[in-house]
Each structure stands twice: as C-alpha cells, then as structure tokens.
Amino acid sequence: MEKTKTLFEVIGPIIIGPSSSHTAGATKIGLLAGKIYAQKPQKITFKLYNSFAKTGKGHGTDKGLLSGVLGLNVDNPQIRNIFEIVQKSEIEYNFEYLENFSRHPNSVDIIFEKPEKMKLSGISLGGGEILIDSINGYKFNITGNYPTLLLIYKDKPGMIYKVTVLIQKQNINIASMNCERKARGKEASMAIYLDSPLKKEVTKELSAIDEIYFIRSLEALK
C-alpha cells in the first residue's frame, strides 16, 4: 500500500524538468542538505551512485544538487545555468560518479569540506519525494515535508522528556519522531517531525542543554 498523495503532489510539484526524481529530487536533497549544513559552503564533493551516476548528466542531477546546496528551490530557472553562476563565485565543487548496488538507485553523498566538514546522504524516492538518511554517520529519515528538529545528544535517561516538554510548552503537535543511538550511554540522534514550526526561543532553550551537541530546526520545504 502506497502512502496516499495529496492533491498538490499529484497535480504538481512545479519544477524545472526533466525529471521529478533526478532533477527536482536532486535539487531538494541539495536544498535540505544546505539547510542542515547552515553555512556558506566553500568546498563540496558530490558522490552520485547508480542511476544518479549513470543518467545524472542528461537529467541535470548535477545542476540540481549544486543549485539546491546553494539555496535554489526546485522551480528556479537558474538551475539550468548554475555552473555559469557558480563560476563567478569562489565555491569549489566536484562530482564523482560511482556504482554501488548496496545503495538505493538514486542516491548521493554530499560532503561539505570547507569551512567545516559534514557528510550527508540523500535518496530520491520518485515524484520529487526525498530522504536525507544520514548526517555524519547518524541515521535520520528527513523528508523536508514537515518542520523538523534534529538533535545529536548524549544518550542518558530523561533526554527525550527534556526536549519534548519544551515543544509541548509551545503547544506544538509532534507528527512523528525517531531516535537512534550508537551505543548505550554514547551519542544518540533524535529527529522530531512537527505539525507547525518551532519558535526560535525553543531552539535557544534546547541549545542551552549541555548534553545536546548538535541542533537544527528546519522549516518544511515548500
């Protein structure tokens, strides 16, 4: 059974062609990755796998990924000329085309190298739906469809309570959430998908919790 699509997933999305999975999906992965990185990248490596690697050039997958990382949305006509646009800036980027059948047919690693290092993996699921499934080795399931709170923190009792109580205080409903840990008492990751965006004060309060190492509050992608 498939998840039922909303009206605007069936008559839409509005995108730059030619492919909702290989162009728009790639742009969305880039866009979400850029928001998670949350700073201006200076050097990026994109590793494209399988179908993304094989048909990426003809579909503009490369253009979409780079455009997304630089903040362009899926319907921005500048995607077509992104290489010329980037030439004028000082961003270094590099594409690698790889085969690895243990990976999803449409997957990519985005490795930000400068100013800070961060490695994300993304999958394009078709129809413009995407998933960021890993950040620096931590597993996530970020679709960009909901306002999302991402945390990496020390695994210890009461952490989920500490976080959710702050969300509850804002009267914001949690649509779904998932937590993973590397090992008992070590680092863990938490993703909380919300029905409405988190206020800045909450993010601030959360950042003040000692055991939280990494925090991102993302808006839903349009």
Binding site: L7, V10, P18, A24, G58
Partner: protein, 287 residues
Amino acid sequence: MNEIKTFDELLKYTQKEKIEIYEVCQIFESQELNISIKEIRKKVKATLEVMEESINNGIHSTKLSSSKMTGNDCKKLENYFSQKKSCLNISQQKALLYALATAEENARMGKIAACPTAGACGIVPAIIFAYSQDTETQINALITAGQIGKIISNKVALAGAIMGCQGECGSAAAMASGALVFIQKGTNEEIITAATLTLKNILGLVCDPVAGLVEVPCVKRNAFMANIAITGAELSLSGIKSVIPPDEVIDAMYQIGTFISPQLKESSEAGLAATKTGLKITQKLHK
C-alpha cells in the same frame, strides 16, 4: 471527512452529499492542509498558470534537449496542422500539440508542473487547455484530475521505477480522461468510467527510456496519451460502461506493475533502451 481511498467510496460519497468530485477533493484537501477552499483553488490556479506557460514556451521553442534527442517535433506538428488538412478537429489538434509542447519543454529543462510526474506532464494540461477556456472550469477539471490521481496513488506508485509507465503516463491519461468528461458536463459516474476505461487500455505499459532520459519514448508518448484520454472520455459519455469495476482495474494495474520486470522499470536495461540504436545513443551520451 475521512480520506476517500477508492472510486467506489468516491462515487458513494458524491451521491450521498449530492456534490461533484472536485468538491469532495477540495473539502478534504482544505481540511488536511488546514487552509480554506479558496486558498486551495488559488494554488490550483497558480498550477494552471505554470501549465499554460509551459505550453506557450514549448510551442515557441525548437531548442533541443541536452541529449539532442528531442525538442523540435512540436514545430513540425504545428506546421502540419496549419498547412495541411488534418483529419482531427481543432480541439484534438490542440491536445496533441499542447501535450508535445509541454513534454518537449520538460526535456529541455523548462519549468513545468509535474502531473502526476514530470515525464507525463503534458497530458492533463493538454486536455484541459484544448477543451476549456474558462478559468473556473479549468480549475474544477484539474482538481477532478487530481482526485483521480490520488485514488490511483492509494494502491499504485505513480513512478515508472516502481510500476512502469502505466503508473506515470497511464495515470495521467486516466486523470485527463476524467477531466475531459467533467468539461463536457458528464456525470460523476461518467468521469470515473472514463478514467477506468482509459486505465484498462494502458495496463502493462513499461518504462524503457533510451539512455535513462525522460525523452524517448516519453515525449511523444504524451501526445499519444492525450488522444487515449479523449477516446476514454468519448466512450464513457456515450454510455459505455466498464465490465471490470474501477477499483478492480487498479488492483490489476498494481499486480501487473509488480510483474513487470525490473529491467523494464526505468533501469534502461531492456526494451527501447536496449535496441541497437538505443545502445548506440547511450554509449555516445555516456562518453
């Protein structure tokens, strides 16, 4: 209201509430997205504007796609319609032309509204703009098409990589067919029957694009599918019924989709993609 997941539920709901299919859809979407029906219709109108823009851009361009496989056929068709005596009436001519224009625009990285996918983006707008000039009717027709697509998507992934082209261009044709019956003032039942007859006719359609690109056969297929949508609408409006009920046709579509070999589901390992010429083009492009 609860989400409507089958054609049977849809028809019963419209009968009980005495409303049109597009009204069912906009009530539910308004509830789900937590915005007014007016807002929903505004968004649909914005989508129609993009569709119209892609048709116009497509008709006026002969720029080839980056692979150079497609991009200048729409012009040929337009010249033929204006210079020779076509066997189609003006609306049918427009439908073929608009479908091709939009699909070519997509292949050259133009801006389009996926409907339901980018590869099938020409079919629904072609029918709506060829057969209706009234904005409110166009909005209602597009929402009707959307509701049909939503019900198909309950069981069948609208993705060539999962269900073959029947899930993409096939779904689009069914959506367009229903939209056309709406424009022609058919009943809710006739709308559903048109979508059903059309779906029955595209079952088993594989996805075997040359070099993995959304071009061959996808671009021309958009024009063919526009015509299939018209046929479905006409048969239904004449009172012809489907022997197999709508929801059972979708079950069959799903089953067939799972039986289609992975080699024929967007992996470009068989079919047209694996022909001598297909392979030659692929090699040249991947160099």
